[in-house]
Subunit: 120 residues, 2 copies
DNA sequence: CGATGATATTCAAAAAATCGCATACAATAG
DNA sequence: CTATTGTATGCGATTTTTTGAATATCATCG
């Protein structure tokens, strides 16, 4: 595998060239989320979401953390969000219309908002 | 073809996911260039360069202008250079090492530098 | 221990991108 | 008009990506 500057740049863009991966990053923009959460928001199968998460992980954009049976993903290279913003502007879109909440069964979603706000 | 915000963003990244196209944009960063020029700098065949230029043109990043037998390409969405810069930074590279001059037979290249500087 | 729920990985088929070759086209020279 | 030069496009073989289905793993509960 070649490793010029252009190759490295191309690999980053390659990881972003898929709408589902872009939507996943938009979800993670608001903070950690478990797979079941992403699955519920996007209406996609678990295995498929896991695959796309793996691509983003290999690209170095996100990382994961296990909490009991759930695995929470988060963005570790926040610059990638700037890339998304810039591309959105170039595409002539002002907002990314994405449902950000979803009813999934992970403990975080199951916990009433009131308690979350109290930091419980 | 779907047309959500994420789809549009993905199409832009798709046009940038190839090292040769990134290198072409880096060449055009310095101003107009004809196909023979790009061909000479990158050491690629003419038909191949034309194909990559077509992808960049369809993505709306560049435009062309005919001058006699030569066709000069230029960037029309300069924001794309910001995307390249940002990706380069994310890749941990500070400079794009790219030969910017080349000996090709187009009138512009054939004109001695001295004359170009005088605006001839 | 076995069962269950959450997630990851593997495999294969379908779709798309890459890239070389041949050819078409436009402009100029003769 | 014909030949030549600079460029574009069409076609096909190869490679890569996508996507679903099946399976594996890992933590927890009983």
């Amino acid at each position: 595998m070649k490793n010029t500057t252009a190759d490295k740049q191309a690999r980053l863009f390659k990881a972003l060239m898929h709408p589902v991966r872009i939507q996943i990053l938009e979800i993670l923009r608001n903070g950690e989320a478990c797979v079941c959460h992403i699955e519920a928001i996007l209406g996609l199968r678990q295995a498929y979401v896991s695959q796309q998460l793996a691509v983003l992980r290999r690209a170095g954009f996100i990382s994961d953390r296990r909490e009991g049976p759930n695995i929470y993903y988060r963005i570790i290279r926040h610059e990638v969000l700037d890339l998304l913003d810039m591309a959105r502007a170039l595409a002539g879109e002002s907002e990314s219309t994405l449902p950000l909440s979803a009813g999934c069964s992970c403990p975080r979603c199951a916990t009433p908002i009131v308690l979350l706000e109290r930091g419980v």
